[in-house]
């Protein structure tokens, strides 16, 4: 027993490294004097730590799936790939924090520390094979997120965002636990593999308890993904938090929640039956609502950040479509979608953040005439918006196409039509910003300090994958399959 645990640790290096990075950052932060503004060493350490996590994860990619810690944590290619996405997202958000003026200098280290902690929670969540691990993962993610949301001191909007996040989070995790407790009572285990076996031999009365319990379970995860009945917190929290925090929230918790949802769906509901019908039906309604509500609310927004927040809700809806089909093709397209979503969102938020730092807000008008002053940034923003809207040949289109393909093979025509209509609606508000950037004259000639050559380079580097994945996706997918990257 003890030896097995020690042997499990050797497969758990990325998570341990992330924990070590967090502790190291706390120690480094403690050595700084209060009034010192620059925290160069700390960000360097964060960068090195997160990059080493990333390197270890990439080395883990092609390996056979294995379950460690008495089968409570599963490490397979799917979880490793979602961890890579989360790690990249964290790195991007930490770099943005070091450049942003939306967070005070002496609070920036706290962001780096909390973000690394949230990454650990997300890693736990994406490879959880046990209700306890899943619960701990969700709570690690949530509790640190509450703190991040209220990071700005003496700012009433930030405090309110944290408050709302904490209250919603508390209710949903309580409801999720209540559901979990009844599943445990009926099936008699908290291990996913054992539950999946137990679900096959249920009496009708037991199904009547288990199905509503799973719906309560879904509340907790749906809250992390921000899908529609549980999305009320998202726009408020996204708006109240500083922009680097918003960037982080729209990537890491979302990908972690989706990974957990994929694992739950494929472990428990792959067998046809009453449970499968109920689960797929619920997810279909949620996905359709999520896409539509997210898109329609995004139309009237003044602030680009809030628009991106709503659009990230609708992207989550599209990703849930890939889970509904319940096969390898669907899971693979969800992963591909989240990779492209990562790059698109990160780069778009970078540009928004630098503009916001200059003018103090990020309304659409602040972007007017950007093409005359910073042509490179305006072109990148245009590419990103086209890709987010799903226009060929960019990667956003390819990702959406894969999901539609999986849907149509499994004959979910209605959902495919709803998703198609939503892409058209999305086109409107994404192109609005492109129109303002190119056609309206510039408001002022002042330069935006955020757009240094290095930062412009970073934005371009983040946009390149958006284009490359769109053009050479076939090769990327082939390489990926050759390495057995995706779910076995």
């Amino acid at each position: 027993m003890g030896i097995n645990y020690l042997a499990s640790l050797s497969h758990y290096v990325p998570e341990l490294l992330a924990c070590l990075t967090m502790f190291g950052l706390i120690l480094i932060e403690a050595t700084y004097k209060e009034e010192k503004k620059e925290r160069g060493l700390l960000f360097l350490a964060a960068g090195i730590g997160l990059t080493s996590v990333l390197v270890f994860l990439i080395f883990n990619l092609g390996k056979e799936p294995l379950s460690i810690f008495t089968n409570s944590v599963v490490i397979d290619s799917f979880s490793t790939l979602s961890k890579i996405i989360m790690c990249l997202g964290t790195l991007g958000a930490v770099y943005l924090t070091s450049q942003s003026r939306d967070i005070q200098g002496n609070l920036k280290p706290e962001f780096a520390i909390m973000a690394t902690g949230i990454l650990v929670g997300g890693m736990l969540l994406s490879s959880a094979n046990n209700m306890l691990v899943l619960f701990i993962g969700i709570e690690t993610l949530s509790i640190l997120s509450y703190v991040l949301a209220s990071l700005k001191k003496n700012d009433d909007r930030s405090a309110e965002a944290g408050l709302k996040y904490a209250l919603y989070g508390g209710i949903t995790s309580g409801i999720m636990l209540f559901g979990m407790s009844h599943i445990f009572g009926v099936v008699g285990s908290i291990n996913f593999t054992d539950i999946a076996v137990g679900l096959k031999s249920l009496s009708e009365g037991q199904v009547l308890i288990v199905l509503p319990s799973f719906l309560l379970f879904l509340v907790g995860i749906g809250y992390k993904i921000a899908c529609v009945p549980f999305h009320m917190w998202a726009p408020d929290v996204y708006e109240g938090s500083p922009i680097p925090v918003t960037t982080f929230f729209s990537i890491v918790p979302k990908v972690a929640g989706l990974a957990a949802l994929v694992r739950i769906s494929t472990t428990f509901f792959a067998e046809p039956g009453v449970l499968n019908v109920g689960w797929v039906g619920t997810l279909s309604i949620i996905a359709a609502l999520t896409m539509t509500v997210g898109n329609i609310s995004a139309i009237g927004q003044q602030s680009v950040k809030r628009m991106l927040a709503y659009s990230s809700i609708s992207h989550a809806g599209v990703m849930i479509l890939g889970i509904i089909v319940m096969n390898d093709l669907g899971t693979r397209s969800v992963l591909f979608y989240s990779i492209t979503y990562l790059f698109m969102t990160l780069a778009a938020f970078y540009i928004v953040s630098f503009v916001n730092d200059k003018y103090g807000n990020d309304h659409f008008e602040r972007f007017s005439g950007l093409i005359y002053r910073y042509p490179m940034m305006a072109i990148m923003m245009t590419i990103l918006m086209f890709s987010l809207a799903g226009i060929p040949p960019l990667s956003g289109f390819v990702a959406k196409f894969h999901i539609f393909n999986a849907l149509i093979i499994e004959k979910y025509y209605t959902l495919a039509v709803i998703a198609g209509i939503n892409s058209v609606i999305a086109l409107y508000y994404y192109l609005k910003i492109v129109r303002i950037m190119t056609l309206k004259p510039s408001e002022s000639e002042e330069e935006i300090q955020g757009f240094t050559y290095v930062n412009q380079g970073v934005v371009v580097a983040l946009t390149i994958p958006v284009v490359v994945l769109g053009l050479f996706w076939e090769k990327v997918l082939m390489v990926a399959e050759g390495a057995k990257v995706f779910v076995q």
């Binding site: 306890l132 509790i143 309110e160 209250l167 508390g170 309580g174 209540f178 979990m180 445990f184």
Partner: protein, 101 residues
Amino acid sequence: MVSLSSYLFISFALFISGLAVMIARKNIIAILLGIELILNSAALNFAAYARFVNQNIDGHLMSLFIIVIAAAEAAVGLAIVIRFFQIKETIHIDDATQLQA
């Protein structure tokens, strides 16, 4: 002897009263108390199922972790409420309306 169904009944009552507190009360501290009620109903459920139905350690583990994490969540929640009170000088949920579309 107390049966399983009475435990389940009590935990269900706790769950419902927790939800009712969250919906009806306007005081943020009261809402945090409601969250505690919901979490405790789940913990009670796990302990009861572990005692009566499945004689394994999983249920006890879950209830222990729920107690620990509920404490952590309450600590962070209260810290945020204090910050909110320092800025707004109120703990009424209806005053948290800065962020509305």
